[in-house]
Symmetry: C2
Subunit: 259 residues, 2 copies
């Protein structure tokens, strides 16, 4: 099977124009088939403030009411996605921007209201992603650039976690490709000492993951990302890599594997 | 050759949620291959005002400075495009939203500064459109939904007239398909009497077009649209139709042809 890299970048890189520019140059140099998944960044929150819409957060998660959905859709699918696509075109990558509604590539389900009503937020299932269409677009020489907006198939757009999108897309494509999933952020990898950016743990398997959590070395912020990663590995993704977005071609990073 | 309909809708339909909803249902019922091209609408101007960015117009045309480009990109490629795509998906049309940067489908040239500096506005040439890629996307069962944002290939997004996009895409695809280009607006067609919406001129050819202009029947607002149309016809487009967006399946409309 052909190798496919799925690379997820987050707000830290997107918020800084120079960093994003550098990242896109590095991304362009990666050979072979690739997909970029991007999150939001602070810009959407700033625009919400400019428009007088107060961001609502519960447990650090944004509540997406209708006005907020409008703004995040404009920001993620409009501003950020098109800036990335135009920047990749400049670097000779034939990028194609996608929300989950485009080509129906990611059909989500609005999160059920339990203790908290998260509003217009989409949850994903393995069958949410149309891997056949993504494979066909890759076959046309295109590089999909996926933003964190999906839809429910009934006309409703939904704000969706970009880490989850990356993992679900990776799983959906693992029957067609040997998939490597990269989570990029502002650190060099999973760190033994959060204050020492050189203390990267080179390799974590399921057993050591449990130990590192029990020892309090892997803490809150990283746990959802690593849970997503091990789920993806158990569902056919070949390798998950966690590292710095601007060192994507360097060896310093954490590799996750099941055993 | 297979038949392809390229349908352009403007602000009047987009600004009114119910009209847009009705139009998308009618569009979904059109058999065969189709592409939708959409303009902006008043929403972008309202958002510019909310953000304290005063719209600048010269001769009725918006000057696109960097701040304005940001907002129109968010609005056209984010809000409007994704609302249309999600609405078409709801109606079982596998829509794929595109700016000109996506897949490099429309590469424009920034308008040269002469008497007026229009800012980040893109002009098109016949070679601007990648007809092969659009043909391949149609071949995958997708319905492209193109917004009025293009790029220059060097990382710059450009605001571009949607009528011109529709005509240029129509010409680019006329070697692969028998192309019918529909300009939809809020009137039933080209009118003999602008105050009588039933006075539709059923057919206009190049000769009668010149006569209608000289007689003052076809006036300013319509001339660029009809000039675009006759240019498109002279470059291989089979038929141009001008009519009401909400009567797209009805016979009341103006058909343009060369002879």
């Amino acid at each position: 099977m052909k190798k496919l890299r799925i690379i997820k970048i987050g707000g830290g890189i997107i918020d800084d124009e120079l960093s994003l520019h550098q990242f896109l140059q590095l991304f362009a140099r990666i050979d072979g088939l690739k997909i970029l998944v991007h999150g939001g960044g602070k810009g959407a929150s700033e625009m919400l403030r400019s428009l007088g819409i107060a961001p609502q957060l519960v447990n650090g998660r944004r509540i997406t009411d209708a006005a907020t959905l409008d703004v995040v859709t404009m920001f993620y699918a409009g501003k950020t996605n098109k800036a990335i696509v135009a920047g990749l075109q400049q670097n000779r990558v034939n990028a194609l921007g996608l929300s989950g509604a485009d080509g129906n590539v990611i059909r989500a389900v609005k999160r059920p209201v339990r203790e908290v009503d998260y509003g217009f937020v989409g949850d994903l299932r393995p069958a949410s992603v149309d891997g056949a269409l993504l494979g066909a677009l890759l076959g046309l020489g295109l590089t999909p650039v996926i933003c964190a907006i999906t839809h429910d198939g009934h006309g409703q757009l939904l704000n969706t976690n970009a880490d989850t999108i990356a993992a679900t897309v990776a799983v959906a494509l693992s029957s067609q490709f040997t998939v490597e999933l990269h989570y990029c952020f502002e650190k060099n990898g999973v760190l033994l000492d959060v204050n020492d950016d050189d203390s990267v743990i080179a390799r974590i398997n399921l057993t050591s993951y449990v130990e590192l959590k029990e020892a309090g070395i892997i803490t809150e912020g990283m746990i959802p990302k690593l849970d997503n990663s091990f789920d993806a590995l158990s569902q056919g993704v070949n390798k998950v890599i966690i590292g710095h977005a601007l060192k994507i071609n360097e060896p310093l990073k954490t590799v996750l594997c099941l055993n």
